[in-house]
Amino acid sequence: MQVSYNLLKEYVNLQDISPEEMVYRLTMSGIVLERMEKVSLDIDRVVVGKIKKIIIHPEDPKLSICEVEVTGKSLSIVCGAKNMLVGDKVAVALEGARLPQLGIINSKRIKNILSEGMLCSASELGIEPGKSPGILILDQNIPLSEELKKLIGGEDIIFDFEISSNRPDLLSVIGIAREIAVIFERKLKIPTVEIEENPEHNQKNIKVEVLDEDLCPRYTGRVIRGITVTESPLWLKWKLRLLGIRPINNIVDITNLVMMETGQPLHAFDLDLIRGETILVRRSKPGEIVFTLDEVERQLPENCVVIADKEGAIAIGGIMGGKYSEINEKTKNVFLESAYFDPINNRKTSLKIGLRTEASSRFEKGIDKDGQIFALNRAADLINQIAGGKINSTIIDTNTNLFSPIKIDLRVKRVKRILGQWLEKNELTTRNRLVSILERLGFIVEDQESDKLSVIPPSFRADVEREIDLIEEIARIYGYDRIQPTLFKTTLAQEVRDFKLQVIDQIKEILIGCGLNEVITFSLVSPDDFNKIGIPEDHQLRKAIKIKNPLTQDFSMLRTSLISNLLEVVKWNINRQAGMVKIFEVGKIYLPLSAGSNSLPLEKLIIAGVLTKLEGGDLWSKSYSPDLYEAKGLIETVLHSLKIECWDTLSVDHPVLQPLKSGIIISEGKEIGIFGEIKAEVIKNYRLPEKVYFFEIDYENLISLVHPQINFVPLTKYPVVQRDLSLLIREEIPSGDIIKEIKLVNTQLIKQVILFDVFKGKQIANGYKSVAYSILLQSEDKTLTDQEIEEIFRQIRERLEEKFEAKIRE
């Protein structure tokens, strides 16, 4: 809501209140300033002149040469506008004049004719935004040679306030002024309206029939005859400039001014362009079309409210008037409308047709339920003053009890219960304070002596319906800053965080300790991302949840894996000269439940990461590069850290991972994680230069294996015996199987089997590999003898020879 300091002064005495203080106190009562701007009519040596003669420029018929009488002289001025007539009073920029945008104006030759100054348009003077269509024509009664600056207010400050959707009453100058009056305890001055009414004389009589009262519970209007449509006077243009509204003509400008003043949108029709004698207010018919003021032909959806004459819709109620019955320079008789349209329907219509106007933004929030007649008369009065004519005595009003006051009980004790303190010393003085605040806000307070006040909100405060609404009003005006901060009076003993949530932090900590950076990416992806990571058409991962109303294709689906997000991050960093990228994310994927299950999708927490490094690096790191086993190792590090000891690794078929270079880790029958090398074609799609390794942990499956409770196992006193075993074995036998087999020989005494060498090459027969293990033996209750150890090793050798045809190397 845009308003100015001088405009506000017309409604509330601002003496001794600086703009800064005013803004601060408004902020502290809930009205936030969005923008503040100093304005002044930045003009000098611009005076009122009168056109004596107009002739066409001999060299250019588009230009005129005007002879202008000003300051006792006659000046010859070349002008490109066409809208002036001999006898018009105009704004003349004299030699050396200053204009806001054009700067200093000097006499100059225009196509060989000397122009001794300039005739100004409203926009050149800074009174009107944009570009005015012609020069400014002034009122005839403005004295000749008067400085234009003196005719308008001069310096002012514009404020643009942010108004929350529950306070439509503040979308008006009077509304803001009322708030200031309440805060500073001053009187609100509302303009008085005295109308000279004239009886009807057998002229065209207009009737209004509201067919759909649910959409338009109140419609008022009156007729003004014999007006003259012209440009608005300078002061009105300047006021509209301060309110941020573009001037059109005097009638439309007045309806806009009154809307800004009172918050009640108005519309003026050319009475003679209304066909028939009855205005209908009704629901739109299917396919009905209105050609609106902004020159757009709009096909209306169903259930809009339209203003119609006997031929059809002439306006969209509460949103925009129609071009057909628009006020134009020939208009003589005006029908003025001041109505209340249903907020919800107005909002729906506005959304459906994609048109929001100053009027609709007020109706949709709910305007004053009893402000129609005041605004109607105020506008009629101003039209009468500015555009002449006579106001008909008939007032059309379809009101059927739109505003019915309600009574709200306010318990004085409840105020303290919610705010935590009395406003004043005690209950009694607090009660007086409550009454005073509410009355200043326009509420009627009954039972003022009781500890339960009875409060009636004014017609413009439909947002106040309950006791708590009153308490908010009181707290707001009393000042939040005067309420003492306190801490809880009681403590609440509870576990602040589930074990499961603690483990997430622990996992992050582990991966960060391993040198990975945590990333956070968007959980919305593009359909193209599935192509880029090469998910086949009918694959499970393609069954992503779609957004019905995405902003762009890029964020139109919920992700089913973190892979594309992570690869994008790799790409971003590689493109920015990062030599090594090791990252992980802990984030959700979203999987649809089977159709008809009528519940929300499955949100699964996933821990996933990628590793890659370009060639190069410093002295120590150049020889390092991440590989498949590092990806696997990260999953295993997490498992170890969470005290999970046993798992198996199997190969896995994954659409994004290289076959035979991807595996799955399974523990206690649960799929814990996947790791592998990203397929070459995927790497190509992301234009990555190197190999990328991926790992992923299923958090739900992992957490089911983590024991919240740790039980101490006593340390054994007996020594560990380490013996190495080297064997020659067929290439395709997985090392994991060999280790498993060794352990099976004596699960009690064989504590650990560590692979320390794998070798294939010249000395080894084709199809074979040499592997070497350290085997650690230990007993819990004695020192193992050589014979015992030798016996175990004999069994190991036997078992491996038998099972894998292994050759033991001595």
Binding site: T27, M28, S29, G30, V32, S164, S165, N166, R167, I344, K348, E364, R417, I418, L419, G420, Q421, R466, I468, E472, R476, Y480, I483, P485, T486, L487, F488, K489, T491, L492, Q494, R497, D498, L501, K508, L511, I512, C514, G515, N517, E518, V519, I520, F522, L524, I547, K548, N549, L551, L558, V569, W572, N573, A578, I583, F584, L600, E603, L619, W620
Partner: protein, 339 residues
């Protein structure tokens, strides 16, 4: 014989001075104290002396032998140190070579901010709760006193999956879910991703993180709201921060408040960063609206409570002076490593 011993000693001292390396010392030991050395031979010949001479000469001999041994040991020590030094010098250790850094990763700055916020509220007894991101319209709006067609829905333009299911626009639905399953008292926070249909620019992303809090009990007041949130703001932004509360509007709280801290950039004097107000808005809050209590079956006469919500990205931007929200989701390592 005594003269002989004395001359051996003199000879030794002379030779000791001529030592050039550790090996020379070793040779000296063999020459003067070894089995074939003169001194050893003299020792063997002690028995040939007269009983009168024997004790005195013997004593003298031992004394000289000890002296030589001591000198030799001292020399050895010196030479060993010298040689060690020489060896080190020849190794040419370059202390300016880079150390072998065990490169640790970083928590994402949003995670760091969320952890800090959690800690502060944990210390006041708030419990961390969870809820779904894909949420029913009922929990996201209706139960929060935002019926269909409410203008407040405009400010939270939402991504819909179907008519009744959407991506949550705030973490407030978690409040409703917790209150539905648990009787008062309640003291909880909820943290997570939220979604709004905003085009990406330097202050908007369609996805952001929110922290929501709720306290409900028999005697909770607006004063408690102020106290708790002041405590939070000062822990988060510094004990010297001023905190102010001004009226705001949220459909699910009443009275509602916007919470500001004095600007971190200009110390409240007013600058471009704070729009020359001296204050930065950090969150919205308010006393839970009785209509919300009615929806979850709490007795609004008996219980009262307050709720608050803030955006993690905004908090992080204010705390670290970050000027573009997109940086959080680009995950540029040069950015991430700064935190």
């Amino acid at each position: 014989m005594k003269d002989k011993i004395a001359s051996i000693k003199e000879k030794f001292i002379l030779k000791l001075k001529e030592v050039k390396e550790l090996k020379d010392l070793e040779n000296l030991r063999v020459e003067f104290l070894g089995r074939k050395s003169e001194l050893t031979q003299l020792l063997r010949r002690l028995g040939t002396l007269s009983p009168e001479e024997r004790p005195e000469t013997g004593k003298y001999l031992n004394q000289v032998k000890n002296e030589l041994e001591k000198l030799l040991a001292k020399g050895m020590e010196q030479w060993k140190a010298k040689e060690e030094k020489k060896k080190l010098k020849e190794e040419r250790i370059d202390l300016t070579l880079p150390g072998k850094i065990m490169q640790r990763g970083n928590f994402h700055p949003i995670t760091q901010v969320l952890k800090k916020i959690e800690e502060i509220f944990f210390s006041l007894g708030f419990r961390l709760e969870e809820g779904p991101e894909v949420e029913l319209d009922y929990y996201n709006f209706e139960a929060l006193n935002i019926p269909k067609d409410h203008p407040a829905r405009d400010a939270q333009d939402s991504f819909y999956i179907d008519r009744e299911v959407l991506l949550r626009t705030h973490t407030s639905p978690v409040e409703i879910r917790v209150m539905e399953r648990q009787a008062p008292p309640v003291r909880m926070i909820a943290i997570g991703k939220c979604y709004r249909r905003d085009a990406i620019d330097s202050t908007h992303t369609p996805i952001f993180h929110q922290i929501e809090g709720l306290a409900v009990d028999k005697d909770i007041t607006f004063g408690d709201l102020k106290g708790v949130l002041t405590f939070f703001a000062q822990r988060m932004f510094g004990e010297d921060r001023k905190v102010r509360f001004r009226p705001g509007y949220f459909p699910f709280t009443e009275p509602s408040a916007e919470v500001d801290v004095s600007c971190l950039l200009c110390q409240g004097k007013g600058c471009k960063g704070c729009g020359y107000t001296g204050w930065l808005e950090i969150m919205g809050a308010g006393m839970t609206d009785p209509a919300v209590f009615n929806m979850v079956g709490y007795d609004a006469e008996k219980y009262s409570g307050f709720a608050f919500g803030m955006g993690a990205e905004r908090i992080a931007m204010l705390k670290y002076g970050i000027n573009d929200i997109r940086l959080f989701f680009e995950n540029d390592l040069r950015f991430l490593r700064q935190f």
